[in-house]
Subunit: 365 residues, 2 copies
């Protein structure tokens, strides 16, 4: 099977780039001697998880219980569900843990900590620390930290933070500064717990930008990152990697032609409506247009508008886009996690036109 | 099963509102004596299709060949695939048509028209007319119209237009004006074809706003509309219906609490990153927050930020949101087609808390 034969729109995953991205992150963290707990929210694929966990401690991070169930079913037991748990979800966690998984949950809430400890089969839990993102978590020096620890009792496994505000950084120095605040905050929280006599075995931090740019990681026991595996235009804009590190693209067909533009069959569903590059130095619309081989033959052509199933490609005047209806293009996405989630499988290539594998995804909840 | 028992996030579809919306559109078009060919791109569900086609001619519109295959498999044969066809997709259409379906395709391209006519099993085809949207289609008086008709030969079935630019309208008068341009343009194209001796059996127009607000439809043989079934905040903002006509919401759980805001487990994946109301009179962020019963108990609370799996709810100061972790809310979406597409099923209610049915969706391509 070749790319020319695939129904469109669909996902193309270049394993050569994927493996290079995984090696870059693994080598970067190896310098610090800190293992990676790869975040599978982007890839949601056991095939990708096997590559990303190779040489690491074997654990992964997930963003849904559907992912936890899928990966547990494929033999991965050490799973951190890194979204705040609710009391109602504990039964599902217990069910996974009763058949061999070891799903760790997350909370920043006193009542929920009580519900965890009172459950008939309590999972281990991390306390979420806010090191500047302002989403979930409590401040490292919040008095609530010790109260939650007491409430969790023997089920407390440590602390976790996510410096998602690193996405507002625009340079390696920005990222290094945010990474250090992330590290210092979560380590401080762990030290407060230990000083009060609690265990804090796991001290988990991470986002792709801070994982890539952290200058020290002492006190941290693991780093989480996910989007680095596939990369995207937004991560390229903020300096996590280069544009040539984007492993995931959407294969699309030309379905209409006009002077200076094309209609393609990748619209808002196939690409997502994510517009993160609108706030980046360079705005790629809904994605950068590549040729079928994944090369930048069409200059700065982007998907300027996205309807449900139609994308409007605006040509770069220096690179006319004279293609017939049915011709195929590839679109590099703004935000790879959002784009991948609309599709149920990857058509895997190795830099070329031949499809060497089809890998499934675990979508939904 | 009750809403309180459902895993979150998930889709809740209120059948009472759905049936009212379907009746409103059917009654509106019945006044013109023009049948509806409901667009199933929003609902992608046979259960919804059965309600929407009741009392109509039985045909539907789809936006993907996956939908065409799904609906054909459920016994609907008259299917208009209303996205420009490519030569490569004709085999899949032929396969469906060889087992009882009658899939009609769409083109505005001379070479593609030739490929249709030259196929071993040509489908019937409509020529796409642009009546102002500037997406697909040729102008009603374009010379290419007759050339494409000649190329299609006996497979020409008529003309189709979509006034998607009605989404830029903001009043019934705007919509009526756009609807009239849509009607006049597509009817003019049909008349040109007939004057040249071609058949133009089907004269198809539509979008939910123009279907709702058209003041005359003479010369039109069918109207397409889809989003009206479920409704959304954007359609409410442009006057297609009221906020109380939104049949589809996302059920979500509180996963974190802060002064003035809540974290919920409906983020960018469960709600979509669609920000269409950013350009509407009222900006609802990523969705309007309702209580578990679907009532507006929380005033103007909206989902202000959306991460992959986290939504940040900003409370209305006049309606404090003092809810525990695990409490359930419902979110009315900006753009119902995009939101529904992230989910594989509907939990159906009848205005109350009890789940009376589960309906599946046909996602993907």
């Amino acid at each position: 099977m070749r790319l020319a034969d695939l129904p469109t729109p669909c996902l193309v995953l270049d394993r050569a780039i994927l493996e290079r991205n995984i090696a870059t992150m693994a080598n970067g963290l190896a310098r610090h001697g800190v293992p990676l707990r790869p975040h599978m929210k982007t890839a949601k694929s056991i095939d990708v998880a096997r590559l990303a966990t190779a040489g690491q401690q074997g654990g992964i991070t997930v963003s849904t219980l559907a992912e936890a169930e899928y990966f547990a079913g494929h033999g991965i037991s050490d799973i951190l569900y890194a979204v705040g748990i609710t009391p109602q979800k504990l039964d599902q966690v217990a069910k996974l843990n009763s058949v061999g998984a070891a799903v760790i949950v997350l909370t920043d809430d006193l009542d929920t900590a009580g519900a965890i400890a009172a459950h008939r089969q309590p999972p281990r839990a991390l306390i979420e620390i806010d090191t500047g993102e302002g989403r979930g978590g409590i401040a490292p020096d919040d008095g609530l930290l010790l109260e939650i620890a007491v409430r969790l009792g023997p089920y407390l496994a440590g602390v976790m933070t996510h410096a998602g505000h690193s996405y507002a950084g625009r340079s390696p120095d920005d990222m290094a500064r945010i990474a250090e605040a992330e590290r210092a905050g979560v380590v401080h929280a762990a030290e407060r717990l230990r000083a009060a006599g609690h265990a804090a075995t796991i001290v988990s931090m991470g986002s792709s930008p801070t994982a890539m740019h952290a200058r020290r990681l002492d006190g941290v026991t693991e780093v989480r990152a996910g989007v680095y595996m596939f990369g995207d235009l937004f991560q390229a804009e903020i300096g996590t990697h280069g544009v040539d590190a984007i492993a995931l693209t959407v294969l699309t067909s030309v379905i209409g032609r006009r002077p200076g533009r094309l209609l393609v069959d990748a619209g808002g569903l196939a690409l997502s409506k994510d517009r993160s590059t609108a706030d980046a130095p360079r705005d790629y619309g809904f994605g950068l247009v590549l040729d079928r081989a994944g090369a930048r033959s069409h200059g700065d052509a982007v998907v300027r508008r996205a309807y449900q199933e139609h994308g409007v490609v605006e040509a770069d005047p220096a690179h006319p886009l004279d293609l017939p209806v049915g011709a195929k293009l590839r679109i590099a996405p703004n935000h790879t996690c959002m784009t991948a989630a609309a599709h149920d499988r990857y058509f895997v290539v190795e830099g070329g036109d031949e499809v060497v594998a089809i890998w499934q995804r675990a979508n939904g909840w």
